[in-house]
């Protein structure tokens, strides 16, 4: 097998992967950095799709403590508080860097200073943005910035598996070139995993379509612990566009922040029943579940959704503040500035992921994880605007850690037989067989129906059994048609990873016998602080999922303290 060698191999070109590359080289410009991306660099992943914006404390009237309190309250006290503190304390410096060094240009106040808008679940208007399509600005400028750096980009190549050395340290990864179907090995002293989350395993979902939880799946197979895997966020305002793939894409949170109303099929502002104080500006977990319950109770809109109405905010204001959203709705024949729009909850972001420390280190020496692949930062629910902050802050941290680590780490040897085995396993799908797309549809429906907004023991047990069946059926899948750019083949490989991650999600969800944040059990509908200020830890051993729990450490704020402050 062909071999490439790097000091640092970064996997993924979202906010986390790009920032890791930039900061590894900022720390030491002589490092050899490889950046491998499943899609096109800067064009794949969810960071580019960020709409509403970026939470960072910039105003003297705001404070990092407040941002921290909002984040912990939003996360229902499940967050790893040191990770959350890293997020809020370093976000301002990243925004500064993006503007001053990378050349982003965020929206301004009339006096020329950076404008910050209102987002749900926050006690201060702290969301930095460029209109309503902020991610394009951040990712395309970071991508442009890379043109000036000596990063070796491996585009449209997917990492199939991580490789470990004989003493368990990271040794590199096995790569599959989508364009040619060639499989190779990239050796590195340090590997940064930043492939984004697995929310695409749900029938309605927001993320970019190539994402399939690859990073988390590979980390699981490498033996790492995952935390909070049951915590999958649904965004409340997904578009309904019938059978189009646009269905499930979102209308951004800033609309609710700016005062848009949600109504059920009877015309009631139903949030009054679920969170009378914050109403539509409540956190995503609450609003999504409220909408779901309204729909389930038969009080939905004709298209199985609820109504989002921004028309009373004034057509001019909506057109000026949300041009991207207005354009998107126009595409499906709707006028966001003047009429209510049907929306549905849609799978959005995985709070769970690989356990890391504040340096992005894992239990495997030399293996770092950053961004959505990592767990713990957001607890049971992520605040809007904390996602891109997460990926860029922890991407930066991972880059810094990587640069430091490789000074002392040797290049580990890998097992060639193992690498060959990975290649053989991946190419076995190049045979006659059934279509992977049908099986994918089954997985997505299963997860939506039984591991979605409302869960119970029966449904979760059913899901666990069905996952085994789907996994077994994967062995009948075949995609003849050659290696080069074969989408069916990629889909089969995506399925493998999604199933791996889904199993841990189901096991975690079964284990948490309470409701908290995004995780709602119909059979345990109450939050139970007495038993469950604990996080669920999952791992794979000999093909079996192991589940344990550990107490959350309240290193900065104890439960109830935020509420007591306000």
């Amino acid at each position: 097998m062909e071999e490439l060698t790097f000091d640092i191999l970064v996997i993924g070109s979202g906010g986390a992967g790009l920032m890791a590359s930039v900061h590894a080289l900022a720390a030491n410009p002589t490092l050899e950095v490889g950046l491998v991306v499943k899609g096109l660099i800067g064009k794949s992943g969810c960071t580019r799709m960020v709409q509403g914006g970026y939470n960072a404390v910039l105003s003297p009237d705001d404070s990092k403590e407040r941002h921290f309190e909002d984040t912990i309250k939003g996360g229902a006290y499940l967050n790893d508080q040191e990770l959350a503190w890293t997020l809020v304390s370093r976000a301002p410096e990243v925004v500064q860097e993006l503007e001053v060094k990378v050349g982003c240009f965020f929206d301004r106040n009339p006096d020329g200073s950076i404008h910050q808008k209102a987002f749900a679940g926050q006690s201060f208007d702290r969301t930095v943005h460029r209109a309503d399509l902020t991610g394009i600005e951040i990712v395309s400028k970071l991508r442009d910035y890379l043109f000036g750096l000596p990063v070796r980009v491996l585009e449209e190549q997917r990492v199939l598996e991580l490789l470990l050395g004989s003493s368990g340290q990271v040794a590199g990864a096995v790569l599959l070139d989508l364009r040619t179907g060639r499989i190779s090995v990239a050796r590195a002293k340090c590997v940064v995993v930043a492939t984004g989350g697995p929310a695409t395993m749900y029938k309605l979902a927001t993320p970019s379509v190539e994402k399939s939880g690859d990073g988390v799946a590979m980390a699981i197979r490498a033996g790492l612990d995952c935390v909070d895997m049951e915590m999958l966020q649904f965004h409340p305002t997904g578009i309904i566009a019938g059978g189009s793939r646009l269905t499930g894409m979102i209308l951004e949170e800033g609309l609710r922040g700016a005062g848009a109303h949600l109504r059920n099929g009877l015309g009631e502002r139903f949030m009054a029943r679920y969170d009378p104080e914050r109403m539509e500006r409540s956190t995503r977990d609450v609003v999504s579940r409220a909408s779901f319950l309204e729909i389930q109770a038969g009080r939905g809109s004709p298209g199985h959704g609820v109504w989002l109405d921004a028309s009373h905010l004034g057509a001019d204001f909506v057109a000026r503040s949300f041009p991207g959203m207005v354009e998107r709705m126009a595409l499906v024949g709707k006028d966001l500035t003047r009429e209510p729009i049907e929306v549905t909850p849609t799978a959005h972001f995985h709070m769970g992921g690989v356990r890391i420390d504040t340096h992005c280190k894992t239990d495997i020496s030399g293996l770092l994880v950053a961004g959505e692949d990592a767990g713990g930062v957001h607890g049971a629910n992520r605040l809007g605007g904390n996602g891109v902050a997460d990926s860029t802050v922890f991407g930066m941290v991972a880059g810094e850690t990587a640069a430091e680590l490789v000074a002392d780490l040797p290049l580990a040897d890998y097992d060639r037989v193992e690498a060959e085995g990975v290649a053989e396993a991946a190419t076995r799908y190049l045979r006659a067989g059934s279509s992977p797309f049908r099986l994918r549809e089954e997985l997505n429906v299963l997860m939506w129906d039984h591991v979605g907004l409302v869960r119970d023991r029966g449904g979760l047990l059913h899901a666990a059994a069905e996952l085994d069946r789907i996994e077994a059926e994967l062995e009948t899948v075949g995609v003849p048609g050659g290696r080069a750019y074969n989408p069916g083949w990629q889909e089969a490989l995506n399925l493998e990873n999604l199933i791996t991650v889904a199993k841990l999600m189901v096991a975690s969800a079964l284990h948490r016998t309470e409701s908290r944040g995004s995780h709602f059990r119909a059979d345990y509908p109450e939050r139970d602080d007495h038993h469950w200020l604990r996080r669920v830890v999952t791992r794979l051993r000999e093909g079996e999922v192991q589940v344990t729990t550990e107490a959350v450490r309240f290193t900065r704020l104890a439960p109830g303290q935020v509420e007591a402050l306000r």
């Binding site: 799709m49 240009f105 929206d107 301004r108 043109f147 190539e210 189009s244 049907e342």
Partner: protein, 237 residues
């Protein structure tokens, strides 16, 4: 639970899709697929993949007009497949890859030549020494606003006949990016960039055909940027 994606009605669409194996000649192949009436062109391609041939290759990532991965030619016109409603296309529609770029497979083109030219104008920001974000009013920013919206989809590159005639012409997108930086008061290297952008293969090669502005899905109007570069160069010399 029933979800939003369940549709009852579908529409039968006759597609003619460019299929091309690596290293061989391509051809248009007919497919008849059931598509959701609210769908986009990309939904029709997904339908081919799911209903007929899982190897039918096309690029897609965000499916929402954000990433610029999915540009193809629909009945000869460059468009984002994910942003072109099927309600606007005829019952018999032709889908082909972008022009002026090598086909990797089917609708997937090799964008390397496009990005090589984009890289040639040094798209990376070179900041003036600033310690804090510059205070800039929206009005001062007007000059760059349009050009900055580019999502590097390559539609303009395909639509530009000059790119076809003169393969070394930098093309509309690269020049629009050059303008965005030349006009950015925070950038330290405006003169050097301007020099590159109006150099041998730059702005003066453009014949003002304007196809770039017609096809651009983001209203970038590269032609205006090219004209602005020329004007700036003229007054500087």
């Amino acid at each position: 639970m029933a979800t939003a994606q369940e549709t009852t009605a579908t529409r039968t669409l006759d597609l003619r899709v460019w299929r091309q194996e690596p290293g061989s000649e391509g051809q248009l192949v007919n497919y008849s697929v059931e598509v959701p009436p609210e769908g986009m062109v990309v939904d029709a391609l997904f339908a081919v993949q799911a209903q007929i041939d899982p190897t039918c290759a096309f690029r897609v990532s965000c499916r929402a007009g954000i990433c610029g991965s999915c540009a193809v030619r629909v009945d000869g016109r460059e468009r984002l497949a994910c942003q072109t409603p099927l309600s606007l296309v005829r019952d018999r529609v032709r889908i082909e890859p972008l022009r002026h770029l090598p086909v990797l497979r089917d609708l997937v083109v090799d964008l390397d030549p496009f990005f090589a030219k984009y890289g040639a104008i040094h798209p990376e920001f070179r900041p003036r020494p600033l310690v804090a974000p510059a205070r800039i009013t929206a009005a001062e920013r007007g000059l760059v606003e349009r050009a900055i919206n580019c999502i590097s989809c390559g539609a303009c590159y395909s639509a530009c006949d000059i790119v076809g005639l003169n393969p070394s012409f930098l093309g509309p997108a690269a020049l629009a990016r050059a303008w965005a930086l030349v006009a950015d008061e925070r950038d330290a290297d405006a003169d050097a960039r301007l020099h590159e952008a109006v150099g041998e293969n730059g702005a003066w090669r453009c014949h003002n055909l304007g196809n770039c502005a017609v096809v651009c899905p983001k209203g970038v109007a590269p032609l205006l940027a090219i004209q602005a570069l020329r004007r700036r160069a003229l007054w500087r010399s």
